[in-house]
Symmetry: none
Subunit: 207 residues, 4 copies
Amino acid sequence: MLAKRLPAPERRRQIAAAALEILATDGVRGLTARAIAERVGVKDGSLFRHFASKEAIVDAAIDAFEELMGETFPDPAGDPLRALSELFQRRVALARARPELLRLALSDRLTEVAGAEGAARVKAVVERSVTFVREQLTLARRQGRVRDDVPVEILVWTVTGVLRGAAGASHAPSLRKRAARFDPAAAWRALELLLTTRTDGSNDKTH
Amino acid sequence: MLAKRLPAPERRRQIAAAALEILATDGVRGLTARAIAERVGVKDGSLFRHFASKEAIVDAAIDAFEELMGETFPDPAGDPLRALSELFQRRVALARARPELLRLALSDRLTEVAGAEGAARVKAVVERSVTFVREQLTLARRQGRVRDDVPVEILVWTVTGVLRGAAGASHAPSLRKRAARFDPAAAWRALELLLTTRTDGSNDKTH
Amino acid sequence: MLAKRLPAPERRRQIAAAALEILATDGVRGLTARAIAERVGVKDGSLFRHFASKEAIVDAAIDAFEELMGETFPDPAGDPLRALSELFQRRVALARARPELLRLALSDRLTEVAGAEGAARVKAVVERSVTFVREQLTLARRQGRVRDDVPVEILVWTVTGVLRGAAGASHAPSLRKRAARFDPAAAWRALELLLTTRTDGSNDKTH
Amino acid sequence: MLAKRLPAPERRRQIAAAALEILATDGVRGLTARAIAERVGVKDGSLFRHFASKEAIVDAAIDAFEELMGETFPDPAGDPLRALSELFQRRVALARARPELLRLALSDRLTEVAGAEGAARVKAVVERSVTFVREQLTLARRQGRVRDDVPVEILVWTVTGVLRGAAGASHAPSLRKRAARFDPAAAWRALELLLTTRTDGSNDKTH
DNA sequence: AATGAATGAGGATTCATTCAT
DNA sequence: GATGAATGAATCCTCATTCAT
């Protein structure tokens, strides 16, 4: 029962993609050579004709991950709020299209299965997002378009928090009910309000 | 070289705690019977005198996790913003005191190693936090103390996002530099500014 | 079907001994964890409760080899020809008692399966024999009891050659016919004749 | 990146030679289809266009080995001591020219990787040498040119021992120091002295 | 004649778990 | 209550070999 022969580069891509998906759905311990091979339709030993080791497979998976995440970064030149908005929309769209990626980005599964070098790369991808957000926020603030009564870092956490929530809401079946009519554009508008509107905080704390 | 004999309930607690720590520091694949036993100072076979299976150990670990997280919930009666503030402070304090717990709460390692029932309990713990936040926010909004120009869910994500950031900043060595003078109280004040009702729309977006 | 439980040190010895024998009889590729385990009467995985790796098993086997070979070295003090004679007798006796050891000493199987450190130890054992022979011969020569018309090294090779032959003859079934009445004592006497000082040159070459 | 197409017989020779060298340098476990193919500059699958199996490759390697060793046998007619001398010189020369062959002849690697039939052939090659030596010695003894106070077999072992030593010394880098001015001709002269000079053994043992 | 993708049968090793002592 | 020796199933990986292209 031979598997269909496939050109090596394509097989490699398949294998890396399969690893990514399995990791997202079945977790660290589910990511076995056997499982990957099965999903691809070959025998486990055959994987090692294409990759030197499981770690190498994970590295390739991280390549794919890096690329997909990288594509969601908008042009950093231009209007910073627009840049943030675009990042937001694209990330939500990505979460909808490839929910596994989201899980991977939010969990540390990739870091767990990767070797030191791969783990560093995953971390870099995540940090790049945070840095991007921080930079755009700082820029926007200099333009007076983002509130300055709150430290940037807090705003960064706000953005990443809402992004995380929106991405989760956009695909998580269990959350679908609550966020049934979840609309990413509306979410962004709300987030923008948070970032830009200056509140006076006058009527809050009682203490 | 026999390990000190310990009353069973105490050993159980030890084992569960050890599992929790190992899971946090070494990850899913680091959580082996051997590793747990070693940390407790016992031989691996002995674990199974106290627990029927590794899954049972994880279940007990989840008990501990549940309890520790549960303790951070403030009295839900009373001032909702105060309740949120307290949850915030306590969580940050917990993150500082027991950084592993934070990692566990933010990663899905526990869910990964738990059986179905355990996973559900972990999920419940996390959801309970979100629900708590949502409820307090809703209450506060009814009191007119939280802005209503933004859907509650967005505010929920804001709170959880900032909480996550603050908790991370409060312990992560790598982040310590940036958040060197990180002050949870200040973080909460900033968060509160974000949440509370604005009085005018003067500081509006430009486009 | 559980194997008989044995105290660990004894099992270790068994395993090392089994490895030595398998290597001698079945060769490098025959030395599998499975083969060792089978011979000892346990399952292969169990080997690794006693040794960290196959290499560690081989190391222990080399320990045994070293010890057995070491025991054949006579007291180097005293009459050098007597020392050589004793080494000779003991080696032949060892070859008869434990033919596998001989094979191992003469082949390089042990070196092949050992790690770098183990290989060095095996080499040292072999070299120690040669050195011992050389030293005793040199001593004897100084006493005028060994011929000096021939370089010592040639005499060393003579001794090792005859030893090798005698040891082989003493056990190899195929050679038994020829050396049917093979007598180690007689072999040594003959060897001694070869080594000792000639008195005259009467029986010289003809050409 | 196709390898140069070569006529089949030439490729076969290449492959057999490569196998021989790898076996000598890397040992039994180093002799993999991949290693052979690599050395030849071909992909591993291609080996099996030329040989039915790895065993067949080894058989061909043994052919080559047989031939090379066979070439060192001098004309058995004529002066027996001269014949021995020539064998000696040629073997030492071969050891110098092709050290791998020596290793193979002295180790039993070839026997290990060969099938039953091949192993028998290797054994025959070795035995042929011994037989040759024995025959020439017997002849020479009948002519009164070799000492008769020592059994022939002992002399055979002497010759093979010195040959082995000389061959080893002639190439082994580590031994080069000791045998720095190692001179095969001198070695043979010394050996001849051993074989021909009659000692009386009068002044040896003290016991 | 050679490649390139695949396999199946192992090989070493890990690990949760059992149970006699 | 704890140990210490064992297992069986699974894991990653290697290797000789096959065969369509």
